[in-house]
């Protein structure tokens, strides 16, 4: 039985034709599958085609060729939008309306029954920590507050799928932490999340799947733990074990000292090193802890973008 997908694109392409200018291929034969229940990070440098993809999924722009389905229905189906929560890259709302009024309009558009509306709006405002600003005009809000209202309108309908374009932009570290909790909370409720971001450490923290895009083309996609392969071996030397440290430090490719006095040594994957590590572990069994060293998402991202190899 195949994996159930919430987003599926098939050879999706977008070409911008402009008078007296060469054609721009914003998206080139993109094929992705976002599994149900996943938190899917959509990565790529500026101009990679992330926002174009998201806007095609939301039927805000039309694909030049290819197809896209969202929750099993064509992306141009108006009714499917009632099951999606969407946050655009630069959220902008009617400035003269209060946060409550704006969310009330969104609730009407989402066909939330009138007897449930107020309660639902109060709940989402509480979730994004904006309850005390509910009667303030949106025009007076900072970038971070606008982002919070954007998140509030996106989760208003308890969506089955959240599509977020750069949701962490404009949030302070505290706000980012809260936002990640919101995403994980939504995932726990069964919501699938598809979002683009430049903040790789956050993506690594909360995503279980990623796709990397560059110049409109997909470079890689898959489970994050499968993509970030074991790139070497890591040894943790317990504090005050100078003998063990002396034996291994000369063959390590990187060393760092932790606050507790222990040392973290990184080694490459050669057979010679493996033998030396096995010998040292036998010699100092209480002092050395060996584990696989995984590549960081940031390292992986730059390696892929620089063309060291597509996965």
């Amino acid at each position: 039985m195949g994996m159930e997908a919430v987003i599926k694109t098939n050879n999706l392409s977008k070409v911008y034709k402009r008078l007296f200018k060469p054609k721009t291929h914003a998206l080139d034969s993109l094929t992705i599958t976002v599994p149900k229940g996943s938190v899917y990070g959509f990565l790529g440098p500026n101009g990679a085609g992330k926002t174009t993809t998201i806007k095609i999924l939301m039927d805000l722009i039309k694909a030049s060729s290819g197809s896209a389905t969202v929750l099993g229905r064509p992306s141009y189906d108006v009714e499917v939008k009632g099951l999606i929560g969407f946050l655009p890259d630069s959220p902008a709302f009617s400035p003269q309306l209060t946060a409550f009024e704006f969310l009330n309009i969104c609730a009407k558009l989402l066909k939330i029954p009138s007897d449930l509306r107020v309660n639902r709006i109060e709940t989402v405002l509480e979730t994004v920590k904006m309850s005390r600003h509910s009667r303030d005009k949106i025009g007076s809000f900072s970038r971070g507050m606008l982002q919070r209202i954007g998140v509030a309108q996106a989760i208003l309908n308890e969506p089955k799928l959240l599509i977020l374009d750069e949701p962490l932009l404009g949030l302070d570290p505290y706000g980012r932490q809260e936002f990640k909790q919101i995403i994980l909370g939504e995932q726990a409720k069964g919501t699938s999340v598809f979002f683009s971001s430049h903040i790789l450490s956050d993506v690594e923290e909360i995503c279980d799947h990623i796709a990397i895009l560059d110049k409109g083309k997909m470079l890689c996609a898959g489970r994050i733990d499968e993509l970030l392969t074991a790139s070497g071996t890591k040894a943790i030397i317990a504090p005050e074990n100078d003998e063990a440290l002396k034996e291994l430090v000369t063959i390590a490719i990187a060393t760092s000292r932790r606050d507790d006095g222990s040392w973290v040594l990184t080694f490459d994957n050669s057979n010679e090193i493996k033998i030396k590590l096995e010998d040292a572990t036998k010699k100092f069994p209480q002092a050395i802890e060996i584990s696989a060293s995984h590549e960081k998402l940031e390292e992986f991202f730059f390696r892929i973008i620089k063309g060291d190899g597509a996965v």
Binding site: K55, M58, I84, S90, Q96, I105, L109, G150, Q153
Partner: protein
């Protein structure tokens, strides 16, 4: 229908909270009242002059409100307000109709305020009730907002942001100039509406009323024209990429 009302509601709430709207109404009242100072220059016809000024200035006020729609839609599309709304289960046609109705309501409220102000100025200045013809013409000015809003929606979707207001102003000006350009009958009532149907100032100043049936027929014509123009706008908008 609820979605259209939601969009229209957000539009009029957003605009009617701008202080500049009420400043505009106040300025128009002052200009209408200033007609009273022309009793000598108008050879004692300042009562007729006041009626004429109130109708002319109310028409201009309505046009100004409608022109602001040609700024509003491109602005919402550019800034992403429209993206947020259109990411909800709201058809693009419903969005356009909602904006159009929103601006018709704004225009109706502003023009009604101008009309009420001019009735009060007339009543206080001449100690006589306002004429039926004056009332009818103010009603027709409010009804003329319907085809004008449809034109504004059409051009704000079909034309680039900078050109749309200019073309809209020109078309509305042509549409109000049927009597001067009457040798072009094919254009009027077709692509360009005949907004002179909504104007009988020259009769109204002498309190020569028209039949209420005429008012109803003109209103129906305006609605038909608005359906035609907004259908065209919807067709164009359905193929448009929203940045």
């Amino acid at each position: 229908m609820n979605e259209i009302i939601a969009i229209a509601g957000s539009t009029w709430k957003n605009v009617l909270r701008l202080k500049v709207v009420y400043f505009l109404v106040f300025c128009v009242w002052v200009l209408i009242a200033s007609a009273l100072n022309y009793d000598v220059l108008s050879l004692g016809l300042h009562k007729e002059l006041l009626v004429d000024a109130s109708l002319f200035l109310n028409t201009i006020t309505g046009v100004l409100v409608i022109i602001s729609l040609t700024f509003e839609i491109p602005k919402e599309l550019k800034e992403g307000v429209a993206s947020t709304m259109l990411s909800k289960p709201l058809g693009r046609t419903n969005y356009l109709i909602g904006k159009m109705i929103g601006y018709i309501v704004i225009g109706a409220i502003v023009c009604a305020l101008v009309a009420i102000g001019s009735f009060l100025i007339f009543n206080v200045s001449f100690s006589e009730p306002i004429g039926v013809a004056m009332l009818q013409n103010h009603i027709l000015i409010i009804l003329s907002l319907i085809p004008m809003a449809a034109i504004a929606v059409l051009f704000s979707i079909a034309l680039p942001e900078i050109i749309a207001p200019i073309v809209t102003v020109l078309v509305i000006w042509f549409a109000h100039s049927t009597s001067m350009l009457s040798n072009l009958p094919i254009i009027y009532g077709g692509i360009i509406p005949d907004l002179e149907l909504f104007n009988f100032k020259s009769e109204a100043v002498y309190n020569n009323a028209v039949s209420w049936r005429y008012v109803v027929m003109v209103a129906l014509w305006g609605i038909c024209y608005a359906i035609f123009a907004s259908s065209l706008a919807s067709l164009i908008f359905s193929r448009k990429d929203i940045k």
